[in-house]
């Protein structure tokens, strides 16, 4: 050795090529089979979870019998699509489009306004405004619709009683298309908020400053720079909101179906459940909804191609703030009004109905007969076996969905972001595909799939867990995949060249760094699973009723006292999880 540098590092082993271990078999391309093995396994899982159910639905929509074990295929026919073009089908389609357009505009206005206030203005209590932007994500629109039935039903709604009391000859009717639009608009505003807020805060303020420096007035800057910059975000959010509303099940069913306002989801539910049922017709209408959603999403992607002007640069921008001056408090009042309509009024109405134990009153004054108030009906409802079992089922299914879901989403995100296998784009498409499948239709498709597959899944909580895992794949995968993209792939490569296998590199480097995102995705899946109704409605059995199904059952029975009490309990559970986990809950 001739180092003489005093480093004490033995370099002889450096100079000698590692002779003994040359041409070891484990590195051969034979290993590419076991490198690809997990990929093929994952692809197979996704095909069973996503492609197979859609295949079953397609089959059911084109044949004259429902898929049954041993006899999944009937005779080919196109007659089922008559259901879609019947009078009621066309009426449902028209109503659905009107509802989605109207509620979409309402939701976009609310969401974009809140986003601008929270991101760019000096509105008081900005954290509250941010909260207002996303809170409806965690309060179910299903509960909102039932609560608004109490507030503004034409006969006994609290508002209408008040109007009569004041001698105003106006009756607000929530059981109408405008009513449905109003409620759906209230609860679908968060998507617009998230997209626009993101665009506004990630935008480099120097772009706006450049416009002012070169002579543009404040409104001109807004019109010429800010608005065009956030237009892609607005467009993306608009189409997404429209798609989500058109497939929404609980709001139009609760407010419209029984009152002569059919919509597509309500029509599907009706075809499935009201005798004589026409399940093949329901499948055909379901397929039509999928086609509508695919067209919407494809249109969105086409419009947005290469048009995202806001990029995450990692630079901490301080977005410019607009001084509202005397409009400050007006804006704040608007925020409070929104919070009241979306949260406060519905919750108070539920609480009142729960503690007073009645729904029908002679006049507005009777509402405040406090001597008749009692917590007894509330406690009774929340201690029924139905409620406690539903709660346990919901929590169990939510936790299991989070556990398996996150494992699946992580594996998907790893292959999409970190492998160079050619088929990884297929995985990505499969992971985002459930966006185009209405929840209700997914429920039907899964029901047939797991009835036909001879495994003890249908009729157990497992089928609900499967439904939740699939339904929230786009969100969960999206969140984890986004986090993957923030972690430089060099970090993992460094572990690989340092002598770690691919698996070891992932567990040593990537997994710990993704901990927060994984936790966040898991919590989101729990919350969304507990909120879930439309898929669960076709998948539960008497032993596996989840909370949303229990509450929906009470509504179908018309037991309003129970509906109110259980809705409160249901919302309290969701709120509790949200509050406890708010540090990690970042909607993807």
């Amino acid at each position: 050795m001739s180092t003489g540098t005093g480093t004490g590092i033995d370099r002889t082993s450096v100079a000698d090529p590692p002779l003994p271990q040359q041409e070891k078999p484990p590195g051969r391309m034979v290993s590419s089979l076991w490198r690809r093995g997990p990929f093929w396994a994952l692809l197979a899982i996704m095909i069973v979870l996503v492609v197979l159910p859609i295949g079953m639905l397609l089959l059911a929509s084109l044949t004259d019998s429902t898929p049954r074990p041993g006899d999944p295929v009937g005779n080919f026919t196109l007659d089922n699509f008559q259901a879609l073009f019947s009078d009621r089908g066309i009426e449902a389609m028209v109503n659905s489009v009107l509802m989605a357009l109207g509620a979409g505009v309402v939701a976009m206005s609310i969401g974009a306004a809140l986003a601008w206030l929270a991101a760019r203005s000096d509105v008081p209590a900005r954290p509250l405004v941010q909260l207002a932007g996303i809170i409806p994500l965690f309060i179910s629109g299903f509960v909102g619709a039932m609560a608004w039935s109490l507030v503004a039903s034409p006969q006994s709604g609290y508002v209408n009683m008040l109007l009569r009391e004041l001698g105003i000859d106006v009756t607000l009717n929530i059981y109408s298309l405008p009513g449905i639009i109003f409620v759906a608009g209230l609860y679908y505003s968060p998507y617009a908020f998230i997209f626009v807020y993101g665009a506004l805060t990630l935008m480099n303020p120097e772009l706006e400053e450049a416009a002012s420096v070169h002579g543009a007035t404040q409104p001109r800057v807004a019109m010429r720079v800010t608005l065009p910059m956030v237009r892609p975000a607005l467009l993306a959010a608009g189409i997404l909101t429209f798609a989500l509303i058109i497939e929404d099940f609980p709001i139009p069913v609760i407010l419209g179906a029984g009152n002569g306002i059919p919509t597509l989801p309500a029509y599907v539910y009706e075809l499935m459940t009201v005798a004589p049922s026409d399940v093949n017709g329901a499948s055909a209408v379901g397929m039509a909804m999928i086609v509508i959603l695919i067209a919407l999403i494809a249109g969105q992607r086409m419009l947005l191609r290469g048009r995202s002007y806001t990029t995450v640069s990692g630079k901490g921008f301080r977005p410019g703030q607009v001084r509202l001056r005397r409009w400050r408090w007006v804006a704040f009042a608007g925020v409070l009004a929104y919070l009241s309509l979306a949260i406060l009024v519905p919750m108070l109405a539920l609480l009142h109905t729960a503690v007073s134990g009645a729904v029908y009153y002679a006049g507005f004054g009777d509402l405040f007969q406090t001597d008749r108030w009692s917590t007894e009906p509330l406690v009774d409802a929340l201690t029924t076996q139905a409620f406690t079992e539903g709660l346990i089922n919901s929590l169990t299914a939510g936790a299991l969905a989070a556990l398996f879901g996150v494992a699946l989403y992580f594996a998907l995100a790893w292959f999409v972001n970190r492998s160079n296998i050619k088929g990884r784009r297929v995985l990505e498409h499969l992971a985002t595909a459930p966006v185009a499948i209405p929840a209700l239709v997914m429920g039907i498709a899964l029901m047939w799939t797991w009835i036909v597959i001879p495994l003890p899944v249908y009729g157990t909580l497992a089928v609900l867990v499967i439904a939740y895992v699939i339904r929230f794949t786009p969100q969960g995968f999206g969140g984890i995949s986004g986090a993957f993209q923030q972690i430089h792939s060099d970090l993992e490569a460094a572990a690989r060249v340092s002598g770690a296998s691919a698996l070891r590199a992932t567990t040593y480097v990537t997994l710990p760094l993704l901990r927060t995102s994984i936790l966040s995705a898991a919590l989101l899946v729990v919350v969304l699973s507990i909120r879930e109704l439309a898929s669960s409605i076709f998948l539960f059995t008497s032993d596996t009723r989840v909370l949303s199904v229990v509450v929906f059952g009470q509504w179908e029975n018309g037991n309003w006292s129970r509906v109110a009490s259980m809705s409160l309990g249901y919302s309290a559970v969701l709120l509790l999880i949200t509050v406890v986990g708010r540090r990690w809950l970042r909607p993807a």
């Binding site: 590092i9 370099r11 002779l19 060249v497 340092s498 770690a500 296998s501």
Partner: protein, 382 residues
């Protein structure tokens, strides 16, 4: 021109290093016929390259020339579409024989452009990782990590969280991690590009020192010609996935073989012209009116002429035997020990790099620029 401190040009053009690489010894890396495509683009095109044991080889070229892909293929982070790679006597990749060792089976160290220091681990854990992967016992790990941290000047910082390191410290941790397991090959992917200029020069010297002390074979990727000239035993100049020229830094600087090589190394003035053969060399009529004598062996006809900024001598002595160009100073940029002038001559503006003398020329001054026929480098038009 500035060499790395430990590099002294020998008359033969060979480069001696403090740690003379055993020239007669076997090659440490042999790449044969390597091709890598990404979709329709060919990143590396039929590359053949040999790196000697203990040699410091720099892959130089503009972005997209295939230098990083070449390095990542050596590391096993990319799988080439054709060809083979040998490290020491082991074949780590051979498309024809279906050999493709994983990165962790190749016994290499790598410093990434982003350093890739794991932010959730402390300095010690980052550096100890390769040793732990080799299942060394705790005492050995402790000892080796402390030695290597001392070598890179981070003694005592083992407990510091990696997220609290400065750029220079991160670079040193990355270097320590990549050499701690005494790899057969050390790969460095633009390791200095994220540092400010002063620190970059300082760490350049340190990096070379460390590599020489350990005698590790190194492959270094950069787009910075100054870095390549300072660090390399040999430079591989790459362009569009192919090797443009391989030579020692001095040779690369003095005798660029192609127009691309001439333009890439040094500060250049490139002008188009037409050449005619004549007694005493090539006569070049530059578009715009200049006429230059060149000792280039380029064929007559349309060609491009490269004039290095530092080869143009301002107001040469009367004994000067070469081309004289008359011009007017347009811009004066004081760089420190040197001055960069833009001089307007017939048909062109030439950049001239001159040592800072007793006086500084001023805008509007008339100057004569001298350049020897040797330094008038002519290349055929592409």
């Amino acid at each position: 021109m500035q060499h790395g401190p430990a590099v002294t040009p020998e008359p033969s053009g060979q480069v001696m290093t403090q740690h003379n690489p055993p020239q007669e010894c076997m090659d440490q890396i042999v790449i044969s016929g390597m091709t890598k495509r990404f979709g329709d683009t060919t990143a590396v095109d039929d590359l053949n390259l040999t790196v000697g044991l203990g040699e410091f080889m720099v892959l130089l070229g503009p972005s997209g020339c295939g230098k990083t892909t070449t390095m990542r293929s050596i590391a096993g982070l990319e799988s080439p579409d054709e060809g083979s790679i040998q490290i020491g006597v082991r074949t780590v990749f051979d498309r024809a024989r279906k050999v493709d060792l994983s990165p962790h089976q190749r016994n290499i160290g790598m410093v990434f452009q982003s350093y890739a220091i794991w932010p959730h681990r402390n300095v010690f854990d980052n550096v100890a990782f390769p040793l732990r992967m080799q299942r060394l016992d705790r005492k050995q790990v402790q000892q080796r990590v402390e030695e290597i941290l001392e070598l890179v000047g981070l003694a005592g910082l083992g407990k510091r969280p990696a997220s609290m390191l400065s750029g220079g410290q991160m670079q040193r941790v990355a270097l320590a991690r990549s050499v701690v397991m005494q790899p057969a090959v050390l790969l460095l992917d633009e390791p200095l590009s994220n540092l400010d200029a002063k620190l970059r020069e300082h760490l350049r010297v340190e990096l070379r020192q460390t590599q020489q002390r350990l005698g590790t074979t190194a492959v270094y990727v950069t787009h910075d010609q100054a870095e390549a000239l300072a660090l390399a035993d040999r430079i591989v100049l790459m362009r569009d996935g192919r090797i443009e020229q391989i030579s020692t830094p001095l040779e690369m600087y003095r005798n660029p073989q192609t127009r691309f090589a001439a333009e890439f190394i040094g500060t250049n003035n490139v002008v188009a012209g037409k050449a005619t053969e004549d007694t005493g060399g090539l006569h070049v009529a530059v578009d715009g009116g200049l006429s230059l004598v060149s000792s280039s062996t380029s064929v007559p006809g349309d060609l491009v002429v490269c004039l290095r900024a530092e080869d143009l001598i301002i107001d040469p002595p009367s004994s000067f035997d070469g081309n004289i160009i008359e011009g007017t100073v347009e811009v004066v940029n004081l760089l420190g020990s040197q001055v960069l002038y833009a001089v307007r001559v017939a048909g062109a503006t030439l950049e001239v790099l001159a040592p800072l003398g007793a006086t500084l020329l001023r805008r509007g001054d008339h100057v004569a620029l001298g350049i020897t026929p040797d330094n008038v480098r002519c290349f055929p038009e592409d």
